[in-house]
């Protein structure tokens, strides 16, 4: 499993990269003095780490700690995209060099590493973060230093920054399409909302509740939150049995997620008798939960590994060629893969690595080679995307049974706050 070399030897690699950087800087300085390349001066007016042959970017995820479970896929996807761009000749004739930093599942560490990447490495862009907490921690750094962050996770919305591009869905894109589908196809009227107790599930469920009550004219018969890491769901399951909702709407995360589905199954709550729609189970989570424990439940995501289109077939094949035949690709992994491609396109359109010019060139760009099919960058820095409903299969994959139209990102939804 080659991803181990990425996740387990960060310090060694980092040292090597740093040495390389020091060496290249030492070489580049005199070269610039005597034979200054006009090209580099033209495409980089803000002292970014761009030379005549290379452009340096940062990668900032948790390779160690609790979040390594989730972030490993994003690290791999971004590497794959960057390798592919390099083998096509790089960006504006420059190969991309990666400095990988480990946020170590600790939010202050994320901020510190972000500062390091921007202020001492002068990277042209950063691909990174996963949890909202880590993004919130680095946001002030990116805004102060005018950096550029590509953030891959589906998240709660309510944020928009000049310095961030959000390549995952914001909550309304993911939640509303899923609820509409279940209301129409399953004639669902009553919903039980279950989540882990932090900002993303609470915000998503708030949006869900407003939509259920105001638009679908249904009712929410229960809304429950459990602390992160909770492993006992027996009482909750009994409450669900008492309320008999048409649909359980679930956004439980982490180790709790596994416990929740195993205990649902053990209590006799399966897809045969109960509809369940989740926005927190991707192929990555299925590895831990076990396909047999979620079989038949529905997940609302913009991407599933099983999506049937030529872009995705190519992407899945390349991903497996690089990271092993058993590698799985979840929604966020695909969104992370989009980051470097969107950045490349914007840089080429702007004809410059300067952050302001790249940001200005981004809106309106269409990426037709995206594995999810098609995305377009919105002026609010989120992506237009489609939402799919996947039915969980025993083998850990999803069967895509519904696909929405292209949905406009709306991070500050009126009437849902």
């Amino acid at each position: 499993m080659s991803h181990r070399s990425v996740s387990d030897k960060p310090s060694f690699q980092r040292r090597k990269v740093l040495l390389g950087l020091a060496a290249s800087a030492a070489l580049a300085l005199p070269a610039m003095g005597f034979a200054q390349s006009p090209a580099t001066a033209k495409i980089n007016t803000t002292k970014l780490a761009v030379t005549d042959t290379e452009v340096t970017v940062g990668q900032l995820h948790s390779a160690t700690g609790t979040m390594a479970i989730s972030e490993t896929g994003s690290i791999q996807a971004e590497r794959l995209a960057i390798d592919q761009i390099n083998s096509m000749g790089g960006i504006l004739g420059r190969k991309i060099k990666i400095i990988q930093e480990d946020g170590a599942s600790d939010w202050p560490t994320f901020a510190e590493k972000a500062r390091k990447l921007l202020e001492s490495d002068h990277v042209a862009a950063v691909f990174g973060c996963w949890t909202s907490a880590s993004r919130k921690a680095v946001l002030p750094v990116f805004e102060k230093d005018n950096g550029l962050l590509y953030y891959p996770t589906f998240y709660e919305g309510l944020e928009q920054s000049k310095n961030v591009f959000y390549t995952g869905q914001e909550a309304t894109q993911q939640v509303l399409a899923g609820l509409n589908w279940v209301a129409k196809e399953k004639k669902a009227k009553t919903f039980f909302l279950v989540g882990s107790d932090y900002i993303w599930p609470r915000t998503s469920n708030k949006i869900a509740r407003k939509h259920i009550e105001n638009v679908l004219k249904g009712s929410v018969v229960g809304e429950e939150y459990y602390p992160l890491g909770n492993t006992q769901f027996g009482s909750l399951i009994n409450k669900i049995k008492l309320k008999k909702p048409d649909v359980i709407f679930a956004d439980v995360v982490g180790g709790s997620n596994v416990a929740f589905y195993k205990q649902l199954k053990a209590a006799g709550v399966t897809a045969k008798t109960q509809n369940l729609l989740t926005i927190s189970v991707t192929e990555d989570e299925m590895l831990g939960i076990g396909g047999e424990n979620v079989e038949g439940f529905y997940s609302s995501m913009k991407y599933f590994q099983s999506l049937d289109n030529p872009n995705n077939k190519k992407f899945v094949a390349e991903f497996k060629a690089k990271f092993g035949p058993n590698a799985v690709i979840g929604d966020v992994t695909q969104a992370a893969y989009l980051g470097p491609w969107l950045w490349k396109a914007a840089v080429e359109k702007a004809g410059s690595f300067d952050v302001d010019k790249v940001v200005a060139a981004s809106p309106g760009f269409e990426l037709k080679s995206a594995p999810e099919g098609y995305v377009k960058v919105h002026a609010n820095h989120h992506l237009w995307s489609k939402t799919r409903i996947g039915e969980a299969q025993k083998d850990g994959q999803f069967k895509v049974i519904y696909e929405s139209d292209l949905i406009e990102p709306n991070p500050f939804p009126k009437g849902y706050q």
Binding site: R4, Y225, G234, S235, A267
Partner: protein, 305 residues
């Protein structure tokens, strides 16, 4: 509006849930009750010994699926045994290399075992990858038992109850009815005197610590039926484990049982009438209040210092 019989069914299932949470808490705390309770060693790596059991179960499930699919329904028993053996051996080595040098410095043990837990987590990550894995559990273990139409009793809950009862019984017999248990208790009460009457106290220490770790391994194997298997899964249990042992009164096995029972019932009942997070707040507040009034825990130690 649900009918009266449905309320009855929910009541029955909720009662069972309380018992099943009790068994889970007791199972995770038993190993620590031996290590912390009997030896006074604050083992912050207890959760990682649970994780060893979980990964052994995962490995065996992989192997049976690959080489002997016909044994799939039964591998779980072998997994429990092998989990015990593996965790016992790792515990034995840990005591030898680390803990035995720190008996006179209990607070340093806290730091050292915490470091050990981080090192073990990273080892799991290096061997099995950062992502969570899932053992394919035997079908008979994952279903539910339906005595009536509206009652579902989880079979893994029943299994866990049986396992907890057997394990508690065995530990009780070992500690209080066996020659070895006598030596353990003698050593913990008065190390010098025990040495003087010919007990090899270093050997006793080593096997006691290893036994506690082995029991944690069994719990870890059992928890694959209800929870996750990942490098940091052990950290999900560590807080509750210490809570149960400290609340029960560290040196008392009966105290640990009583404490697991009362915490489980409070938690399970509060979860039903309040929300999950509020139930946790209520349980923890109650524990803190009682510990304020009874710092020695529910059952006071009857050991002369």
């Amino acid at each position: 509006m649900p009918s009266l019989s449905e309320f009855g069914a929910i009541f029955a299932m909720q009662g069972f849930n309380g018992l099943s949470v009790f068994c889970v808490l007791l199972l995770m705390a038993l190993g620590l009750a031996i290590i912390f309770g009997q030896m006074g060693v604050i083992n912050m790596a207890h959760g990682e010994f649970l994780t060893i059991g979980a990964y052994i179960t995962y490995l065996l499930s992989k192997l049976t699926t690959l080489y002997a699919p016909s044994l799939q329904p039964y591998y779980f028993f072998a997994a429990i045994a092998l989990s015990f053996v593996t965790a016992y051996i790792v515990g034995y080595i840990t005591e030898w290399l680390m803990i035995s040098r720190l008996y006179k410095r209990p607070l340093d043990t806290l730091l050292a075992t915490w470091g050990l837990s981080l090192a073990m987590q990273q080892t799991f990550r290096s061997i099995f990858g950062a992502k969570e894995v899932s053992a394919t559990l035997p079908d008979w273990l994952m279903g539910s038992f339906k005595p009536t139409d509206s009652i579902d009793i989880p079979i893994n809950g029943l299994f866990m109850m049986g396992l907890t009862a057997v394990l508690t019984g065995v530990i009780f017999l070992l500690l209080f009815r066996s020659r070895w248990g006598l030596q353990v208790r003698a050593t913990m009460q008065n190390r010098l005197m025990s040495g003087a009457v010919g007990i090899n106290t270093r050997k006793v220490d080593r096997s006691t610590f290893a036994l506690g770790c082995g029991v944690a391994g069994i719990a870890g194997a059992a928890f694959t039926t209800i929870g996750s298997t990942g490098p940091t899964s052990g950290s999900l249990y560590i807080v509750d484990t210490f809570l149960v042992v400290v609340f029960g009164g560290a040196q008392s096995l009966l105290g640990t049982i009583a404490s697991a029972f009362s915490i489980a019932q409070t938690q399970s009942t509060a979860e039903f009438f309040l929300t999950g997070s509020m139930a946790k707040v209520l349980t923890l507040s109650a524990v803190i209040l009682i510990l304020l009034m009874r710092p020695q825990g529910l059952f006071a130690a009857k050991i002369r210092k």
